[in-house]
Symmetry: C2
Subunit: 343 residues, 2 copies
């Protein structure tokens, strides 16, 4: 399986994550990727390539232009305003406020374009986010050209980023861009299967009213975990997209038996719907030792999950999402890929 990876992910390394009322070293850190690379090489998955230059076309089509401009200049604007730290949102348009008025002030703009304050923007965030989505785009092109599958070792991840909001360590929604590119390259129906522990709120909202991209997510119940206010089972799509959104929220302590049942159901639904291409939001934070999650998957379970996904026999792009039990991230991620290959 071909892998796309860019060293530029290292340009995004915030020093601080707001967690439990303190600043901690971010759970989403560059070393996560190093563990994946090491494990890929251990398992002789060595077709690791630098991505082609980013193609802003499908990104600009899918995402809000004001949001992209904001991301591009946020660091300079923040520093020009004399801010001492990294960019962390302190104010957002909250319940009872205007949701559609964008402040002129950079501190206010940050709040407008952010949905969670744990995520910092740094000097190198925009460049890293572009390198991440470039990996996803190269993987899509490789599959669109005939390969069975490809793995985009994206960092920063993407599935929490909406068309106009960052948060949850995500800035540009890589999986959504891949799905859009599959549509452009001829797939009439594209499914995004999100197996990250957290609900892929960004991907869901981007495609919520579209009938041509199905979003399916297995995740911790929103009453109990981030992103808290989205990811319920009754979110089924809107308008023309009604029925093309499927959430499997599961409670704390969920093990592989229950999780695999949800996966099988998800796969059956994707198959019945007639997807012609598949994007997998590949987070491995459903792992039992993940520090910010509460599912109980074992490492071998990820192999089995990959096998089930592989049996769909769909052209597939894997986009790396979360996974914070650092030393196990490599094994679990590669287990999914190997299970897929062996299907």
């Amino acid at each position: 399986m071909r892998i796309y990876y860019s060293e530029d992910h290292r340009l995004h390394f915030p020093q601080a994550e707001l967690s439990g009322g303190q600043f901690v070293t971010p759970f989403e850190r560059p070393s996560r990727v190093e563990y994946v690379l090491t494990r890929l090489r251990e398992r002789s998955l060595t077709d690791i390539n630098a991505p082609a230059a980013v193609d802003m076309g499908p990104i600009r089509t899918l995402l809000d232009p004001g949001y992209l401009s904001f991301l591009e200049t946020a660091w300079d604007d923040w520093k020009a305003e004399g801010m001492a730290g990294e960019i962390i949102a302190a104010n957002v348009p909250a319940r009872g406020m205007h949701m559609d008025r964008i402040p002129q002030n950079i501190d206010g703009k940050v709040g407008y374009y952010c949905h969670a304050s744990e995520t910092a923007i740094t000097r190198g965030t925009w460049a890293a986010a572009l390198s991440s989505v470039a990996c996803a785009q190269s993987a899509q092109r490789h599959v669109a050209a005939g390969a069975d599958a490809a793995f985009a070792l994206c960092r920063p991840p993407g599935h929490h980023a909406t068309a106009d909001q960052y948060g949850g360590y995500c800035f540009i929604n890589n999986a959504a861009v891949v799905a859009e590119m599959f549509r452009n390259s001829g797939a009439a129906r594209v499914a995004v299967l999100d197996i990250d522990f957290h609900h892929g709120n960004g991907t869901q909202t981007i495609f919520y009213d579209r009938p041509d991209v199905m979003f399916v997510s297995l995740h911790g119940a929103p009453q109990e975990t981030y992103p808290y206010f989205i990811g319920y089972a009754d979110e089924k799509g809107a308008g023309a997209g009604e029925g093309a959104n499927l959430n499997y929220p599961m409670t704390a302590g969920t093990g592989y038996d229950l999780w695999a049942q949800a996966l099988d159901d998800a796969i059956a639904r994707i198959t019945a719907w007639g997807a012609q291409a598949l994007v997998v939001s590949l987070g491995v934070d459903a792992y039992k030792d993940d520090p910010i999650s509460f599912f109980k998957l074992e490492s071998d379970d990820f192999t089995d999950a990959g096998r089930r996904i592989g049996r769909m026999r769909l052209p597939t792009v894997f986009c790396m999402e979360g996974g914070y039990a650092i030393e196990a991230v490599g094994v679990n991620t590669v287990n999914v890929l190997e299970g897929f290959k062996d299907a």
Copy 2:
């Protein structure tokens, strides 16, 4: 003029405020009150009284019961979850998410009940907030019993707190509770005049659809400053409250000439409307040296403003709100009170 003050404000002293991407010592700190007390005594305003016990009746009528329960138990719930720091919101229901689903998890609940992450909850916050509103209530009772005016030296302040959200250093909306109590004690129409530099979003939203309480605010334009997403001139009230909400947003650098014009207009509107009692949200962060504001009032201007307010000849309760140029907070606050007395 009688003053109500409780030492219990000191129970609320967060160590951290999220500002410019860093934790800084909170601008809203206990010493603010000490400067006011010192200045009151210098000017022989020594009728300083401890408040009577808080009366939860009007508070429970006006505010959301779930919110009050949350505030009461938040610290214990947060610590029971193993959180290391003070309570700081990292996630809120953002644009595109459910605004009406309350998480079970304390981290999620904090986000639900918060509208800005600069404000920390500490062990003593609930007790301090109750002591603050108790001061406001005692001041209201004193005026309802026949006094011309009283000053509630409230801390923490209140005007940013809505019926179910804290933020902007505020937890319980003291001014709103006073307005409600004026209604209960026989005033058919009550006006809240908010001269704090920041828009009183909490007070506005609490009374937005009510015809019996007029809210009038002079403040920094929301495009340029906190709370960013509310406080526009086109917010005029809703339903039966249409026309009973009046915002005067003003741009950076506004001096007393322009500000006093807005004040005169506000006073004319309150008078024409037929208010029978007045609550003044008395912030003094319109001062030229305030570190988080951008108006240019001089200390003498506060005396003149107090005089203009006094000429309304309405039974008046002053509730302390913001003001962060610490050493000038005392002079500027007392200047308003002295101007009022001399009107």
